[in-house]
Structure formats: structure tokens, C-alpha cells
């Protein structure tokens, strides 16, 4: 269907893609995997003919025998959408916010086919049905912001296949989504591919996505091909060291159990934080003991970030109690609060937004020191500890790489020798190899300084590697909490099980007023006989005793 030969793309003097050759047959899914900067996106843009004017291209791209590199803009416009279509990473940006979803899909149909409005609208509903949107008639009349992330991604796939394209390019289609929803979207993508018989080019940085959906895989690094072959073969026996590293990163094992924790540094009891209309945090309790890492996992919207912000605010919570280092945050003076801040620091997800772009690295790392009346003379030492040369103190964050920026953020967080470090997805914005470096750094700092980490992540292999204990959040509550090896080896809550297996769960469920909030998506609930079911519908499950799972029917408890 598509045949790429010796494709090279360069922006000015910087080569983005070098002598890339691959082909995708009709009905086949090729996974194109690589880190950012490996040339994946440039390849996608080259195929669609969407590269900026400044780019120079050589080589050949044949779509169904037609050369695209020399095709006129007019011809390309005609081909886009009809012969080839693309699904972007961020579906919110791909939809116009002021038009209804159904209308936008119908518009895509009418852009390439002369059909009456009515027919196009009917086709839009069919397409929404095909990608698994419940109640498609109703949903076609919704606006993009009324859809969840997963539903938007489905709708985008529906739009892409509206004209039965021969080639479907999916550029990081699941990166912005949660694990359980990711699995569902990949299934939808496969369905769409079966229905249209298209050739699919699946671009991603996530090997597990490729493992789940693709037939063949093509590993890219620095614009060139590293390895290519059928997915099972490459995953089972990677030939190149780079591929081996990627596969190893995916299959990272358990971390050894930590030495016995001594005292509780952070205690959260029945914490509640309701925003108007949203129960963001709805009764959460956990302890963090000194020297341990507690991993906090959950989908976006499960309340992880709100929970962290409540802890960091050190204010009186709406309900419940937060105790940091033995002090109840509801009853601390302003001065004590500042003192607690020395011992409780945070590292945010994206270092490019957590560092003030106007300040130099030196000033950023010095800020906590000067704020608390200490000498900034320690800055070079701190930079050395996070593996940055002292000369970097004079640079601005914009002139550092992503990994280096996160090192700066970590240096700032440990500048005051805190006891507790809150890490809000500290590596999810980084490339896999850089990610491993930062994790190594964090583990080293923890061992050296006896830090306690509250580590939020949605990357389960990572949590498995770094955490001693794991808490799984769902809709503002903790679904299950326990030692990492137990959670990973014998998950008790059906949600944890789905999360670990990355089994598909529906993502468009309604909010539940009473009873178990996981009920609408729960695979266990669906199979239960009527009598035990009623308990799920009426009674909110609590975490009881040593089981650690908030489920009425987990194994070990009689149904």
C-alpha cells in the first residue's frame, strides 16, 4: 500500500530522518517506535506532505504506486483524508471546540464524497457506533469537551476512517490516555483497520503499545533504522543493544524489599476535597513511613494531583486530617508551616514548566536556600550531586535538555535536605533512556539521604521497580493499598487487576451516587449473581484489615 524508499528529511542542516525504507501492506499494522528526536513524527509529516517549507526531502514515497514526494499540493490535498488519514496524539486539539462532534465527522465525509447532508450525518453516527461509542445518536450531538479523552480519541479515529482511507497513520494515539483506556483504543484501532482494510502506520515511543497492536515493528533512533522485523521476534530476541534496552525497560522486575521503615513521616486520614460538582478526593487515608517509597497510581482524573496539592498546601483540609512529621496541618502557625516546607518538597512532572524560564539554573537552585536564610554557596555541590557540571549554573532552563532540567528540579527539591519528597510523575515527560537515568538518580539520593518518596506515576513497570508499597486510586478513593510485591503478584481489587493486565475497561461510565464507584466498569460485578450484587450497589466498600482492597468480593472474603 505504502512503499517508502531511502527517505531523508532534514531541517536546515539538521537531518531528522536518514535513508529510511519501509513498506506497509494493506491490512497490516506496522509499529514505528523511537524516542523523541528519532524522526518518527517527521516521517509521518513527510508521508502526509505536511512538512514545513524549510524541510528538504529526498527519496521516494509511493502510495498505491503514486509518487508523493513530487506530487503537487493540490493532488496531496485531494489524497489527504481520502487515500490517507492521520490520528493525532492530542484529540482535543484535533477537534474544533465550537462544533458538535457528529457535525465535524460529517464534514470530513462531505469533504471527499458528494453525499447529501442527511446521509453524511447518518454515516457519522455509524462511524461513532463502529468505534464503540455508546449511544452514538445522542453522542453525535455532543461537543468535544463533553467527551472523555478516550472517547475523543475514538471519535478522531472515526473521523480518520470516514472515507475508507488506504493508509491510516496513528501518531502516538494513546500517549495522552490512561493504561486501561489505552488498551481499548488500540482494540478500536484494530477494528477500524479490519473494517477499512487499511494499512496502518502506528507511531509510538511505547513498546507495549506496539506489542499489543502491531504486526511488524520498525525501531528508529536518530533518524535511522536500528532494527526491523515481526513484533514477536523482535520482542523475544532483540538483536541490537538499543532494542534490548527498550525491551528490558519494558520488562523491569520487582525491586528488592526496603529495610524496615522506622516512623511515619506523613499521615493522611479520611481526606476530602470536593470541587463544585467533582468529588476530586473523597476519603483517602494512607501513611508514608521514613525511608520508604509509596507509589500512587491511578487514571487521570482519579484525584492524584488534587491529593498532592492538598498535602503540599499545608492548610486545613475540607475534611479529614493531614499530619506531616508529627504536625497536624490544620493547627500550625504560619511560621511552623514555613519550617515544615523545608522538610517537604516536590518535584513536578514537566521541568520545562516547573522552572522559572527567566532565572538561571544557579538562581533556581539557590532560591529555597535564600528563602530559608541559608547561604547559596552550596549550589555547585548540589548540582554535582545531581550530575550536572557547575558551569551550568549560569545557563537558563531553555538551554538544557529535558533530563537536565529535571535534574535541576531535583537539585532544587533536595537543597534544604528535606525528609519527604513528593514526586508528581517526575519522569513521564522524559524519553525512556533519560527516564532510567533520572530514576537511578532518585534511587541514589534516597539511599544516601534516607528520603521518603511519595511517588505518583501511571507507568506500572516503573512503580514496580521503585516502590515499596503501592496505593491504587480510583475516582477519589484508594481502591487498594499494600506492599508492591503483593499488589503486583496478587492484586485483590478488580480494578487493580484490570490495570495490571491493561485489560480494556469502558471509559464513558457515569458517576455513581451510592455504593461501589467502580461498579459500572467492574468485570467482577458483571459476573456476580444478583444477591451479592446488591451489596455493591448500596454499600461503599472500605479497606478492611490486612487485605488492602476496597472491594466487597475480593478473594479471601466470602462473596
Amino acid at each position: 500500500m505504502i512503499d517508502v524508499k531511502d527517505l531523508s528529511v532534514s531541517f536546515g542542516t539538521t537531518p531528522a530522518v536518514r535513508d529510511l525504507s519501509f513498506s506497509v501492506a494493506r491490512g497490516e499494522i506496522l509499529g514505528l517506535i523511537g524516542e523523541s528526536g528519532s524522526g518518527k513524527s517527521a516521517t509521518a509529516l513527510a508521508l502526509m506532505g505536511l512538512l514545513p517549507r524549510t524541510a528538504t526531502t529526498s527519496g521516494s514515497i509511493l502510495l498505491d504506486g503514486e509518487e508523493l514526494t513530487t506530487a503537487s499540493e493540490k493532488r496531496l490535498t485531494a489524497l489527504r483524508g481520502r487515500a490517507m488519514a492521520i490520528v493525532f496524539q492530542d484529540p482535543l486539539q484535533a477537534f474544533t471546540p465550537v462544533h458538535r462532534v457528529g457535525a465535524q465527522i460529517a464534514e470530513a465525509v462531505r469533504a471527499h464524497q458528494r453525499v447529501p447532508r442527511r446521509t453524511a450525518a447518518r454515516r457519522a453516527v455509524e462511524l461513532l457506533d463502529l468505534v464503540g461509542i455508546r449511544d452514538p445518536h445522542q453522542r453525535a450531538r455532543s461537543y468535544p469537551h463533553e467527551f472523555s479523552g478516550g472517547m475523543r480519541q475514538r471519535a478522531l479515529i472515526a473521523m480518520a476512517i470516514a472515507n475508507n482511507p488506504g493508509l491510516l497513520i496513528a501518531d502516538e494515539p494513546t500517549t495522552a490516555l490512561d493504561v486501561t483506556v489505552q488498551a481499548h483504543i488500540l482494540d478500536v484501532l484494530k477494528t477500524a483497520q479490519r473494517e477499512t482494510g487499511a494499512a496502518v502506520l502506528l507511531i509510538t515511543h511505547d513498546l507495549s503499545v506496539v506489542a499489543r497492536a502491531a504486526d511488524r515493528v520498525h525501531v528508529l533512533k536518530g533518524g535511522g533504522t536500528v532494527e526491523t522485523g515481526p513484533v514477536e521476534e523482535v520482542l523475544r530476541a532483540p538483536r541490537e543493544p538499543y532494542t534490548r534496552r527498550l525491551v528490558a525497560a519494558m520488562e523491569a522486575g520487582d525491586r528488592p524489599a526496603a529495610p524496615r521503615p522506622v516512623r511515619t513521616v506523613l499521615e493522611v486520614r479520611d481526606l476530602v476535597r470536593h470541587h463544585p460538582g467533582v468529588k476530586a478526593v473523597d476519603g483517602v487515608s494512607f501513611d508514608l513511613r521514613s525511608g520508604e517509597t509509596l507509589g500512587l497510581v491511578g487514571e487521570s482524573g482519579s484525584g492524584k494531583t488534587t491529593l498532592l496539592m492538598e498535602i503540599m498546601a499545608l492548610a486545613r483540609p475540607q475534611r479529614g486530617r493531614i499530619t506531616v512529621l508529627g504536625r497536624d496541618t490544620a493547627h500550625v502557625s504560619r511560621r511552623d508551616r514555613r519550617r515544615i516546607r523545608r522538610d517537604l518538597q516536590i518535584v513536578f512532572q514537566d521541568p520545562s514548566s516547573s522552572l522559572d524560564p527567566r532565572m538561571t539554573v544557579g538562581a533556581i537552585v539557590a532560591e529555597p536556600l535564600t528563602t530559608h536564610g541559608r547561604s547559596p554557596a552550596r549550589v555547585p555541590e548540589l548540582l554535582a550531586q545531581v550530575g550536572l557540571p557547575a558551569e551550568y549554573a549560569a545557563r537558563h532552563p531553555a538551554h538544557l535538555s529535558g533530563g537536565q532540567r529535571q535534574r535541576v528540579a531535583i537539585a532544587r527539591a533536595v537543597a534544604l535536605d528535606p525528609e519527604v519528597l513528593v514526586l508528581d510523575e517526575p519522569v513521564s515527560a522524559l524519553d525512556p533512556t533519560i527516564r532510567a537515568e533520572i530514576i537511578t538518580l532518585l534511587e541514589k539520593l534516597r539511599a544516601e539521604r534516607g528520603l521518603s518518596y511519595l511517588f505518583v506515576a501511571h507507568d506500572l513497570p516503573l512503580i514496580r521497580r521503585i516502590a515499596d508499597r503501592v496505593a491504587v486510586m480510583y475516582r477519589g478513593r484508594i481502591a487498594e493499598i499494600g506492599p508492591a510485591h503483593q499488589i503486583f503478584a496478587a492484586p485483590a481489587h478488580p480494578y487493580t487487576r484490570a490495570l495490571l493486565r491493561a485489560s480494556p475497561l469502558r471509559d464513558d461510565d457515569p458517576v455513581i451516587a451510592a455504593g461501589c464507584r467502580f461498579r459500572p466498569r467492574c468485570p467482577l460485578y458483571a459476573e456476580l449473581p444478583a444477591a451479592p450484587r446488591s451489596r455493591c450497589a448500596t454499600e461503599e466498600p472500605e479497606i478492611t484489615g490486612d487485605s488492602g482492597a476496597a472491594c466487597h468480593h475480593h478473594p479471601g472474603e466470602a462473596p
Binding site: 514555613r338 516536590i346 513536578f348 516547573s354 550530575g387 537536565q404 528540579a409
Partner: protein, 291 residues
């Protein structure tokens, strides 16, 4: 907690070196040159010229440019060159001082209102709205006509120029409150007023510079307008505005009484805008970062 890490970051690409500070663009250089030239002219001109503003040449009434009077003379025999340069001096000072003052007030009011919200915000925005609905031109005209000191005019002009910017700054600040680097500072224990001064306002610099530039032109034009209508700068002081007003009746048959002042006003505003555009680009970290 001592030795350097063995696994010093070795990212795929060589880390980009801090580029040298960007040079001024061609238009920026042109604007800067023009502005410096006008500034030098305004400062040095009146000192070097043998005439003063109050001198009258009783042998030359309403004469076109000549060797003795390169810009010509007025109907009362005053030298237009020295008048124009004195007017330029006044307009330049008023424009710059008013613009800087108005932008500074806007930045402080907007940032504090937006950052603190609550009653601070309500109070500051009430004052802002109040000043917005007062007919500024009339107030300045009436109040300043009782004053013959130009500094009073500066204060009045600045007092009515900051409100719209303050509202824009407030809006941006509300969005910036939730930026992670602002949160990081808050969680570090940095006092709120220091967060505003150190993190919020510096990150508004490109907006503020753009605003100050517009304000220089607006202040000069406002002063010109006021002076044209006989308020603002009053004799014996002169500004470009009062000169244009004085020259307007004779502009058709004695164009030198009008066009020198008008031309310098246009040149001044163009120069300020060129420099401002360039400064805004320099202050914008997004434009400074490597692509």
C-alpha cells in the same frame, strides 16, 4: 553527599550551549539610532543654538528657512529651530516618564490583584474600574490647566493610562498562579509578595515592554492633543503639541511653522515603536529559546 555522580547525564545530543545574547535586529538598530539622534538633538540642540525660546528677531517675522534661522521664524520672530528642539525635549521626557510610570503601576496593580485575589483583587479592580469610567481627557484638561508645572501633567497622564493593561496583567497572572514554577516557589515557602515580584512580573516582561512602547506613543500623542487644545503644556514651556497647535493656522502659507514639529513627532513615534518591537522580542523567552 559528596562526589560527582558516575552516571553524569550523557543525553543523545550534545547539550545546546548557551547562545550569545541576541544582537539587535536591523529595524531595532535603525530605531535605536533614530531615537538616540533625536535624544541628542533634544538635549544638545538648544544649548548649541545661539537663539533662546524667548528671543525675538525683529528683522525676521514669519520668514522661511534661511542661514540665520535654519527652520524659519514664527509670526512673532521666534526661532523655530530652538522652539522645535525644546518641544521635542519636553515631549520625549513626558512620553518616557509617563509610559514607564503607567506600565509600572499596571504591572503592580494587576499582578497583586491577580495573585492574591479575594479582597485585594476586589479593592484594586474597583479602583481600576472607577478610573476607567471617568472621562480622562476632561479631568486631565481641567485639572492640569490650573497647573503650570509639567510634572503635574505627567502624573495625571500616567494616572489615566494604566487601567487596561492592569486588567490584562491581572488575567495573565491568574493563569500564571497555577504554573508549576509559581507553585514550586509557594511550596518552597517563598513569601507571596516575593513570588509576585520575582516570578510573576519578570515573566510578564514581554507584555509589559510591548505595553510601555505603545504607552510612549500614546502619552506623547495625549500630551500633544491636550497642548493642541491649549491645556497640557502652557507657555512659556513648549512641546511638540503646543507647537503644532501654534503652527496650524499658518501651515498652509508658511508650512515651516507646522511641518518641522509634526515631522519630528512622527519620527519620534516611529523610533520608539521600532525599539519597542525589538525589545519585546528580546524579552520573550519563547523567542529566545533554541528551536
Amino acid at each position: 553527599m559528596s562526589a560527582t555522580l558516575p552516571d553524569v547525564s550523557a543525553p543523545a545530543g550534545v547539550p545546546p550551549a548557551e547562545p550569545p545574547p541576541r544582537m539587535f535586529s536591523a529595524t531595532g538598530i535603525a530605531g535605536l539610532a533614530l531615537l538616540s539622534f533625536l535624544g541628542a538633538l533634544a538635549v544638545l540642540g538648544p544649548i548649541l543654538i545661539p537663539w533662546t525660546a524667548s528671543d525675538r528677531d525683529f528683522e525676521a517675522f514669519l520668514q522661511p528657512p534661511s542661514a540665520n534661522h535654519p527652520f524659519g521664524t514664527t509670526a512673532s520672530g521666534a526661532d523655530i529651530l530652538v522652539l522645535t528642539l525644546l518641544g521635542l525635549r519636553k515631549s520625549l521626557v513626558i512620553g518616557l516618564v509617563v509610559a514607564v510610570a503607567a506600565t509600572a503601576v499596571a504591572a503592580l496593580v494587576g499582578a497583586f490583584a491577580g495573585y492574591f485575589l479575594g479582597w485585594v483583587d476586589r479593592t484594586l479592580m474597583w479602583v481600576t474600574d472607577l478610573l476607567l469610567v471617568i472621562p480622562a481627557f476632561l479631568v486631565v484638561a481641567v485639572v492640569s490647566s490650573g497647573q503650570d508645572r509639567w510634572i503635574a501633567l505627567v502624573v495625571l497622564l500616567a494616572a489615566f493610562m494604566w487601567m487596561v493593561t492592569a486588567k490584562a496583567v491581572r488575567g495573565v497572572t491568574i493563569a500564571m498562579r497555577d504554573r508549576e514554577y509559581v507553585r514550586a516557589a509557594r511550596f518552597m515557602g517563598v513569601p507571596a509578595h516575593r513570588i509576585v515580584l520575582r516570578h510573576v512580573i519578570p515573566n510578564l516582561a514581554s507584555l509589559l515592554v510591548a505595553d510601555a512602547t505603545v504607552n510612549v506613543s500614546a502619552a506623547i500623542l495625549a500630551e500633544t492633543t491636550l497642548s493642541y487644545f491649549g491645556f497640557g503644556v502652557v507657555p512659556p514651556d513648549v512641546s511638540l503639541g503646543s507647537l503644532i497647535a501654534d503652527g496650524a493656522p499658518t501651515a498652509l502659507y508658511a508650512p515651516w511653522t507646522f511641518w518641522w514639529a509634526a515631522g519630528l513627532l512622527i519620527a519620534l513615534i516611529i523610533a520608539v515603536n521600532l525599539v519597542g518591537d525589538d525589545l519585546r522580542d528580546r524579552f520573550d523567552p519563547a523567542l529566545r529559546a533554541p528551536q
